[in-house]
């Protein structure tokens, strides 16, 4: 097996750096290696120009102003800074956070840490079975202590797109700050912080064909101006919100990645979604007992999350060795618990163990999709022939009625 034969369908996990992005980064490793905070020589100025260009590129992608972009190490840091920063800054006003069971761990564990330290309390909204937040549940969770609503734009496992504009409107109406984790959505689908009333937005570079280790946090500057308590003390970089010497090459890469994503979004989303649909149709034509996890309409173009009933996810991945996908099966994690996202949707553990996430991206081709469909169909058939559950189901036994001891 050579590297050339590998197929990468795990683009929610990370993406390949676009060659154009790498090209934009290179000068800042080699010739223009100045510190963007050096204000007294050409090396510093050119680094600063690179950083400010990237700031404009990132801002343009989400309809923000350049000064509203704060550079971070990635979306996890952005989530931490947004949530902890708001809670600490607005502690006189309140201490309650509303978020959702299907959020990324960077949000959930940050809320838990704040609760543990006695700094905040939080309410977790259970999504509907299609993965989307019920706006009535959101409204009902608001208290006079609520200072922050954090709802991701698109989910990393099931790709569902939350109604962020509606959520933003509710937050605005109640004078609550609205944070959204945009790690999976920015650059893939339109994001407009004005139209959506988003006050804080986490951005990641490596999900949009940029480098790992860099991200951004959009922080609304007016109507209303959002303030944050810095989580990293030091030289007062990034308007005092995030100290630390700027990673100029990485930031230049993130900026270029944003510019490319914005320019090519419409065409790319249509192409990627067509590949997703091609894969979905091929699988459903050849296999029975498949279940799509999450709403199919309100969904990222490149996401397909399917439970292949009676076939455990890790064993299927093992059969697809040259294909990179991911699974909600417990066996792929250290925790021995299947995906908490699928659990929140009400997907039973039995089906959660059989789920596979396909993440299609910019560099995937129709030929690759055809190879993947063929291999998945072949392996699922083989493993079902080996599965006692498939045999029982075919004999007409209701697996739910079996006493498994």
């Amino acid at each position: 097996m050579t590297v050339a034969h590998r197929i990468y369908l795990d683009n929610h996990s990370t993406t390949r750096v676009d060659p154009r992005v790498l090209e934009a980064m290179m000068p800042y490793f080699t010739e223009q290696y100045g510190n963007a905070a050096s204000r007294n020589h050409e090396f510093g100025w050119e680094a600063e120009r690179a950083v400010e260009k990237a700031r404009s590129q990132a801002a343009a992608l989400i309809n923000a102003k350049p000064k509203e972009i704060i550079w971070t190490s990635g979306a996890t840091e952005s989530d931490n800074l947004a949530i902890k920063g708001v809670i600490e800054f607005y502690k006189e006003k309140g201490n309650h956070i509303i978020t959702v069971q299907t959020e990324h761990k960077a949000v959930l564990d940050t809320c838990k840490a704040l609760e543990r330290s006695g700094t905040a309390t939080f309410t977790l909204i259970k999504p509907k079975p299609d993965g989307l937040v019920d706006l009535d549940d959101l409204r009902a969770a608001i208290t006079d202590k609520t200072v922050l609503i954090s709802v991701m734009h698109a989910n990393n496992e099931i790709g569902v797109i939350q109604p962020v504009a509606e959520i933003g409107a509710i937050a605005r109406e109640h004078g609550i700050i609205f944070h959204s984790d945009g790690a999976q959505s920015v650059g893939k689908i339109p994001v407009d912080v004005e139209a959506m009333n988003i006050d804080l937005l986490s951005i990641s570079a490596h999900k949009i064909y940029g480098p790992k280790g860099v991200g951004a946090l959009y922080v609304r500057s007016r109507k209303p101006r959002v303030r944050l308590q810095a989580q990293m003390d030091g030289g007062g970089h990034e308007r005092g919100m995030r100290s630390g010497t700027l990673a100029v090459p990485m930031i230049a890469g993130l900026g270029e990645a944003c510019e490319i994503a914005g320019a090519e979004m419409a065409v790319e989303a249509a192409r990627v979604q067509a590949l997703r649909e091609r894969l979905r149709h091929k699988l459903f034509e050849e296999l029975d007992e498949l279940y799509i996890n999450g709403d199919l309409e309100q969904r990222l173009p490149g996401n397909l999350n399917i439970s292949f009933a009676f076939v455990e996810g890790e064993s299927l991945m093992m059969g697809l060795r040259e294909i990179a996908v991911s699974s909600g099966s417990a066996c792929t994690s250290a925790s021995l618990e299947p995906s908490y996202v699928l659990k929140a949707l009400g997907v039973g553990d039995d089906l959660a163990h059989t789920s596979i996430r396909f993440g299609i991206g910019r560099f995937n081709t129709e030929e690759e999709i055809d190879v993947v469909a063929e291999k998945v169909i072949k392996e699922v058939r083989r493993l079902r022939e080996m599965s006692p559950l498939y045999e029982m189901a075919k004999e007409g036994i209701d697996l739910k009625s079996v006493d498994w001891g």
Binding site: E312, M386, P388
Partner: protein, 132 residues
């Protein structure tokens, strides 16, 4: 996680996949695990009237290590007496397949499947434990 060569071999070329008729004479069936836990093994042993395992079949829903563990035990039990088979411990499976710590439960499940299959056979054969 990297799999050992033996796990990959059993996964790609599983031995003795299939089913015997449950009611066939001399067949003991053990089904262990649960779909919610991500592992279900069905092991069937065909045992002679003299108490020797002459054949075995398995079907497994589970990860590659679970499939490999059950495939391996179908080879391991053949030709052994019921008492010998009853004495098989999960550590033999762990060692043979070089299972990492997080996969030890697969070997435990395989051991449980053997014991469940023997119990079923004994129940059908009127608890004839002396046969050996």
């Amino acid at each position: 996680m990297a799999y050992s060569d033996k796990v990959i071999d059993h996964y790609e070329n599983p031995r003795n996949v299939g089913s015997f008729e449950k009611e066939e004479e001399g067949v003991g069936t053990g089904v262990v695990g649960a779909p919610e836990c991500g592992d279900v093994m069905k092991l069937q042993l065909k045992i002679t009237p003299k108490g020797v395992v002459e054949d075995a079949r398995f079907k497994t829903f589970g990860c590659g290590s679970a499939i490999a563990s059950s495939s391996y035990i179908t080879e391991l039990v053949k030709g052994k007496s019921v008492d010998e088979v009853r004495g098989i411990s999960n550590t033999e499976i762990v060692e043979e397949l070089s299972l990492p710590p997080v996969k030890i439960h697969c070997s435990v499940l395989a051991e449980d499947a053997i014991k469940a299959a023997i119990s079923d056979w004994e129940a059908k054969n009127g608890g004839d434990k002396d046969a050996s």
